[in-house]
């Protein structure tokens, strides 16, 4: 498997304010990120391939996971949004098998320590106070490099395991034909 040029990191930015979306997009692009912006948590979930199941089983809405061919390396979301908040979005992502390893960053205009702690406890990597600055965005690369390194390690491990399986359990269809 040849290592080609490293793909750009893809960041999904979620904010209901148009001005803030413009700002965060510009900030992220100056750091050479590929950026997608959406104006609500619901749209973010849709983009990520996670759709809220309307059927409430035992009172809890189940999020069914559609095959996701969208590759997002980091999600940065505003906390205060109408409808689903950034915190709710964070929780949904961390509950999802396919998305839980994507680093999530929360932004908020309000400096509320309990809010910050709650988000970090729920698994947010960072909490940025708005307005977000270049210095904040510069903190993102390490998280992304870490995720990418882990992904590559997992992939290497999975490839090794596949190779091992091939050795011990040769092609099953061949066996079927022979019987």
């Amino acid at each position: 498997m040849a290592m080609t040029v490293e793909a750009q990191f893809h960041v999904l930015a979620v904010d209901d304010s148009l001005i803030d979306r413009m700002l965060i997009e510009r900030l992220l692009k100056t750091s050479s990120f590929h950026v997608t912006t959406v104006d609500s948590a619901t749209k973010a979930l849709k983009f990520l391939g996670l759709v809220e199941d309307e059927l409430r089983t035992f009172g809890n809405p189940v999020a069914s996971e559609i095959h996701q061919d969208v590759d997002v390396n980091l999600i940065i979301t505003d906390y205060c949004m109408p409808g689903m908040t950034g915190y709710d979005l964070l929780r949904k992502i961390k509950e999802s098998k396919s998305l839980k390893d994507i680093p999530v960053v929360i932004m908020s205009s309000e400096n509320v320590p309990s809010r910050i702690n709650r988000c970090l406890e729920e698994g947010a990597e960072e909490f940025f106070l708005k307005p977000v600055k270049q210095a904040d965005v510069n903190k993102l690369k390490p998280h992304l490099m870490k995720s990418r390194a882990k992904e590559e390690q997992d992939q290497l491990f999975n490839n090794k395991r596949k190779d091992m399986e091939e050795i011990h359990c040769p092609n099953k269809t061949r066996l079927k034909c022979s019987s």
Binding site: S17, I19, D20, M22, L23, C80, P131
Partner: protein, 233 residues
């Protein structure tokens, strides 16, 4: 060529004065830093969005306060939005009034809200005209064949000077008041220069990001320093 240089000089001074008087804070400087050849109109675009957003919100606020029974929650939502967008472009004074406005909403104080609405409309119209003047001056320079990026760089240095005066202290740091005191006591030069610089620093540095405790500390301290420097002068 001389004409362009003079225009550029005027623009630097004008922008610096807006920082100094607290109309704009460091966030505006951040916006200018994000503008480059590939995004030459970024600042104008964002600020124009702010104007549209603010005007819409001010209309909503006026309507909401004109209702026979006032929905304070709705009012607060609009003020919160205005606070957010003004903070995002660095319109510090507008942001400051929004903070008081939110307090009035929380207290369900109608009188207070009406007063705050008047104040925010006033501050908004001031910063709007200042920014429009600033953009006009930029256009003049560009029309004369000059560059604005050198102006932006110089403005950035002005901001850096303010930032350096306060050192590595962020506004979240409770030592800020002490730092200000230390600065004033070691500072040489005329008392009025100190006064101006101090007021400039305090205004420039996004006061609205401080906690109420810190804010009152800094205000008290600034008053003490100013009184002290008054005695000295």
């Amino acid at each position: 060529m001389d004409g362009i240089v003079q225009l550029q000089r005027q623009l630097v001074d004008y922008t610096a004065s807006l920082f100094h008087e607290g109309f704009l804070d460091d966030q505006f400087n951040q916006l200018q830093q994000l503008q480059d050849e590939s995004n030459p109109d970024f600042v104008v675009e964002v600020v124009t969005l702010f104007f549209e957003d603010a005007e819409r919100l001010l209309n909503e606020l006026t309507k909401a306060l004109g209702q026979p029974s006032i929905d304070f929650k709705r009012l607060d939502t609009h003020v919160h939005q205005l606070k957010g967008s003004s903070s995002s472009i660095g319109a510090q004074r507008v942001q400051g009034v929004c903070i008081s406005f939110r307090n009035s909403c929380e207290e369900q104080n109608v009188e207070g809200c009406l007063k705050n609405l008047q104040q925010v409309k006033h501050e908004y119209s001031l910063v709007k005209s200042k920014l429009e003047t600033l953009f006009r001056m930029e256009q003049q320079i560009l029309a004369a064949g000059g560059s604005v990026s050198s102006v932006t760089t110089e403005v950035h240095h002005v901001c850096q000077r303010y930032t350096r005066s306060l050192g590595p202290y962020s506004l979240q740091n409770a030592n800020l008041p002490n730092k200000l005191l230390r600065f004033s006591s070691t500072s040489t030069g005329h008392a009025s220069a100190l006064r101006t610089h101090l007021v400039g620093m305090v205004n420039f540095f996004q006061i609205s990001k401080m906690s109420p405790g810190q804010h009152s500390k800094v205000v008290t301290l600034s008053k003490q320093i100013l009184m002290h420097s008054n005695c000295m002068s």
